[in-house]
């Protein structure tokens, strides 16, 4: 059952009044006519929110900058001004039209350049940082500026024989999960209950409890895709506030257009300057990027900051400087988007690498082989790298695409073919606070079956299967003997969130820990009951038996009964921690694990229309251990598919007045079967010693290398290196004509 199928006794329906302007001061709101409409339960505006002294009107876990409803001004088209609760959606929509809002329009900043210009109007006059790592630049729209350095960048460029500089851009896009955002909230005297398709129920619970000063319970049904757009809180506080005012359960379901106005992937610009020796050895890299976090920095500033760690790629570079600006604009707020800006960084450094190879007369694959990180290298962050195998991934994709036909042999009816490769490195979220451990429970229940309790959200990616496999293996029973309970904060232990490729590693480890402990308990209980030494006992589907032919055994039902009806073991996975270097100095690790991979793409470009067909994609990643090989492969294929759209045609477009023009999927094309290439996916299984059974995170890896590989393939085919996505037919044709290619 998905959220939109759920109904609660007494449930009312909410609709949202949204700002028509990208930036305006609210002079007045008159909702009296709406309130008077028969069927309307209540209308939530800034007045009701500010009048309730038990509510903190602002939320946000990086910046506390998002109001439940607009208070002083609206900061993007679609910003929430009021919420109508009515007996049905149509009445709520009718009532929206009766609300009279007077706006005082302000100048707006719709992109990074405008927002960073001297004297630009400020989207937020006051910064409200929460996260300790934030470095806002007062008096500007820059909500976070940070750097990461290693070596001496000036020295690095002095050592270089050649220096290359390229600038890139990628526009805002949306995740387009099949299931749109929705939430049901019910506020009782003692507790808030929220049913929502959120990827991070526990952090959401914490934030709701803080804002509404009341215990909260968050229940997440099956989620129809998230890709980051449903991580953390956005909608829930609005619905909780409405339900509190209404005094009954309230449901809000967003439309596609509203989803485009709620959470998007931020636009990004970057400039990459690279110093290389004549033999292709990279000696210096200066990577500057700016992320358009939109009107509220819900996660944007932190996401940008996190990708400092991977902005220079999976390469050994002695001298590095990475600089990042996260910039407020009057676009909708940005959300994490599968892979975060790792995708755009990879697009930049990997396509520049092909230019370097071309101009120095080197083979692109050999150039990469010369510079890729290997086992035991120290990353730019200082982390010691293990289970790398980046070179194996590249070799794999290169060989699975097979020998390349060159020139006329592959050109037909005005099309020309080319091939491109890319490599990348991805981190996972690694909070330093120990309270953010992922926990799991495995319980033997009175019916002799095992219940696995996880906080991870099932979004179709197969976490239940993963947890069942690991739990069953750890206990030593068949997978049929386990059942899964997931993502209800009242029933399962905490997890930080189903994001950043983290579930198999973190939840898997916690389940493994719990399962191992439970197995020990089972054996010791059975040992008591059977009066046999533990080493002589064996587990099966039915229970614990004495090895050999004696036939003596005790069932799981009896073990449970003996232990008071059930037997629970708790497990956890701690993240973060410190490394100690040779001198004995300690520093926090930047990522619990690092994932390496490669993608190869073969494309066909039409010289007549500029249209690109992606014919074949090879993808390989070092997954450590594929807990479920088919699902792991599907993660890579799905990741690739996900990023074909933004590589080829997806982009959100705003008109001159700051209004979104791409409001439906008719104006915002998505990949379809027609877009699908032939896939060659390889899973490399070099175990990672810290992962459950050696497993590593892989969920985001497939997509992050796709734009780079496609741009490089087009470069190979046409000789034109594009510095932007999407490569729409028009962009490509214009590029070919401009260079006479």
């Amino acid at each position: 059952m998905y959220l939109a199928d759920m109904d609660m006794p007494g449930m009312a329906h909410a609709k949202v009044l949204r700002s028509p302007f990208p930036h305006a001061r609210i002079v007045s709101i008159d909702a009296s006519a709406a309130r008077a409409l028969p069927g309307v339960v209540c209308v939530l505006t800034r007045d009701e929110v500010l009048a309730d002294s038990t509510i903190d009107p602002y939320y946000g876990y990086v910046y506390r900058d998002v109001p439940i409803v607009a208070i002083d001004k609206v900061r993007h088209e679609g910003d929430i001004v009021a919420v109508v609760v009515a007996e049905d959606e149509e009445t709520a929509e009718d009532a929206l039209e009766l609300i009279d809002v007077e706006y005082d329009e302000l100048a707006s900043v719709m992109d990074i350049d405008a927002a960073m210009a001297k004297g630009a109007i400020q989207v937020h006059e006051v910064f409200k940082p929460i996260a300790p790592e934030l470095r806002p630049v007062e008096g500007t729209n820059i909500c976070h500026h940070s750097t990461l350095a290693k070596g001496d960048i000036e020295q690095g460029f002095r050592e270089a024989d050649h220096i290359f500089e390229d600038s890139y851009s990628a526009p805002a896009v949306q995740h387009c999960a099949l299931e749109l955002h929705g939430c049901i909230a019910s506020v009782g005297d003692d507790e808030i209950t929220v049913w929502t398709n959120c990827q991070s129920p526990f952090p959401l619970r914490g934030e709701l409890q803080r804002m509404f000063n009341k215990p909260a319970r968050v229940i997440v049904p099956y989620v129809g895709g998230g890709f980051g757009s449903k991580s953390r809180d956005r909608l829930e506080a609005v619905v909780v506030a409405a339900a509190k005012l209404a005094g009954r359960p309230v449901r809000l379901l967003l439309t596609q257009e509203e989803t485009f106005q709620t959470f998007i992937r931020p636009a990004l610009t970057c400039t990459v300057r690279t110093g290389v020796k004549s033999d292709g050895t990279i000696v210096a890299r200066h990577h500057r990027f700016a992320v358009d976090v939109g009107a509220y920095s819900i996660s944007g500033a932190r996401s940008a900051n996190n990708t400092l760690k991977v902005a220079t790629g999976p390469y050994r570079i002695p001298h590095v400087l990475v600089e990042c600006d996260a910039v407020y604009t009057n676009k909708p707020p940005s959300a994490p988007y599968r892979g975060l800006p790792t995708t755009q960084h990879t697009m930049a450094y990997e396509t520049q690498l092909d230019r370097i190879a071309n101009e120095l007369g080197l083979d692109p694959i050999e150039l990469r082989m010369k510079n890729l990180l290997v086992e035991g290298d120290v990353h730019v962050t200082g982390d010691l790298l293990r289970s790398v195998h980046a070179k194996d991934c590249l070799e794999k994709v290169s060989s699975s695409l097979g020998p390349q036909l060159k020139g006329e042999a592959v050109a037909s009816n005005g099309t020309i073919r080319g091939r491109g490769f890319s490599c990348s490195i991805k981190y996972t979220i690694t909070p330093s606070e120990p309270t953010l451990a992922t926990e799991a429970g495995v319980e033997l229940q009175e019916d002799g079956l095992f219940e696995i309790r996880i906080g991870t959200v099932n979004m179709g990616q197969g976490v239940d299967t993963m947890a069942a496999a690991i739990g069953a293996e750890a206990v030593g029973v068949p997978i049929e003997s386990v059942r899964i309970l997931h993502s209800d904060t009242a029933l399962v232990p905490q997890d930080h969130g189903t994001t950043a490729s983290r579930a198999t590693f973190h939840t898997g480890n916690a389940v493994l820990d719990a399962g191992t402990k439970l197995r020990a308990e089972l054996l010791s209980t059975a040992s008591d009951l059977l009066e046999e030494d533990e080493v002589r006992l064996e587990l099966s589907a039915a229970g614990v038996a004495v090895a050999g032919s004696s036939g003596r055994s005790v069932s799981f039902v009896d073990i449970a009964r003996h232990r008071g009806g059930s037997l629970l073991a708790k497990g956890e996975c701690w993240v973060g921690g410190v490394y100690t270097d040779e001198s004995g100095k300690e520093y926090p690790i930047a990522s619990t694990f690092w994932t390496f991979g490669s993608v190869g793409a073969e494309v066909e470009v039409s010289r007549e229309t500029g249209e690109i067909r992606v014919l074949r994609i090879a993808a390989a990643a070092n997954v450590g251990k594929a807990v479920n090989p088919e699902q792991t492969k599907a993660q890579l294929e799905g990741g690739v598919t996900f990023d074909l759209g933004p590589s080829l045609f997806e982009r959100l477009v705003w008109g001159d007045g700051g209004q979104l023009m791409t409001t439906t999927l008719m104006d915002y094309p998505l990949p379809t079967l027609h877009t699908m290439p032939e896939f060659h996916v390889d899973l490399l299984e070099f175990p990672y010693d810290q992962g459950p059974y050696g497993a590593n995170g892989v969920g985001e890896m497939g997509g992050v290398m796709v734009p780079a590989a496609i741009i490089n393939a087009v470069y190979d085919a046409t000789g034109v290196l594009f510095h932007e996505v999407p490569l729409t037919p028009e962009t490509v044709l214009a590029g070919l004509e401009a260079t006479g290619a």
């Binding site: 149509e90 229309t609 439906t664 094309p669 877009t675 028009e730 044709l733």
Partner: protein, 288 residues
């Protein structure tokens, strides 16, 4: 959606009566694929929805004198699959097969496609290339409007508010004719066209010259446009690569696209040039 009353009349006269009586407050609906989206967004706010789906005799394809009579309520998918259409009116079946995805084609009707007057469509250019005539019923009886006069501007047609399109008459092309519909989209081929071209040509069996040429361009103007200059360039001539290229350039000059999310003016003209060449080559080959 706003609230509205709903009726499903059982005769054309009844439907016409209701539409006339309620004027701008009434909305006729056939397959609903265009209208329901607009209702959901409250861009259409009728007081009365008149569902044409129950009208008898307006569904299906019949042979009628020198051509086909296509009922307005015939689903686009049925046009695509109809054996007669695929035989004598292949161009129409080809254009129908390129409309949206199969689920939309199953619901969407030929009449809805024509009456909606949307510039980005596939069937109207093909119907225009085949010289179709629309028959419209009103309170004063029926009238015939050639499609050349039917499309007036974006979402604007010769159909009056109180009228119902009952059928289209599409002449059978003379022997030696061939047609071709080509569509260019961004993303999936199921998307609405950046531009499209429907071409119907007749090749003289003895001289191999082009006895007749009807090239229609879609999505590059407010209405589907006959490419008059390109047609004149080709008529009476034997086709050659140079001549086809020349006609394609003329057509792209005649096209009157606007810049939108699907492309700039420059790009749409370029696409028209490519599509006219492709459609002509294909149509001429089929004619032979």
């Amino acid at each position: 959606m706003t609230r509205f009353d709903y009726v499903r009349p059982s005769t054309v006269a009844e439907a016409v009566g209701l539409l006339e009586a309620h004027g701008d407050d009434a909305l006729a609906i056939a397959g609903g694929t265009a209208t329901v989206l607009l209702l959901q967004k409250r861009m259409l706010r009728p007081e009365l929805v008149v569902d044409l789906g129950g009208l008898p005799g307006l569904t299906g394809v019949e042979q009628n004198g020198g051509g086909l009579r296509i009922g307005a309520l015939t689903p686009i998918r049925a046009i695509e699959r109809d054996a007669i259409v695929r035989g004598t009116h292949h161009l129409l079946a080809e254009a129908a097969s390129q409309v949206a995805g199969v689920r939309v084609r199953n619901a969407a009707t030929v009449g809805g496609s024509v009456c909606f007057g949307e510039p980005q469509t596939d069937l109207p250019p093909a119907l225009l290339a085949m010289n179709a005539t629309a028959t419209i019923a009103g309170s004063q009886g029926s009238r015939d409007v050639p499609l050349e006069e039917f499309f007036l501007g974006p979402y604007e047609t010769a159909r009056e508010q109180g009228e119902v399109l009952t059928h289209l008459s599409v002449p059978t092309p003379v022997p030696g004719s061939g047609g071709c519909h080509v569509k260019f989209t961004m993303g999936s081929p199921e998307n609405k066209p950046v531009a499209n071209v429907s071409a119907l040509v007749t090749v003289d069996a003895s001289t191999r010259a082009l006895a007749d040429v009807r090239i229609v361009m879609g999505a590059v103007g407010g209405v589907p446009m006959l490419a008059h200059k390109a047609n004149d360039t080709l008529k009476g001539e034997r086709p050659s690569d140079a001549l086809i290229a020349q006609a394609a350039v003329r057509a792209s000059e005649e096209a009157d696209p606007v810049e939108d999310l699907r492309g700039s003016v420059w790009y749409k003209r370029r696409i028209i040039k490519v599509l006219v060449e492709r459609a002509l080559r294909c149509a001429i080959e089929r004619a032979n």
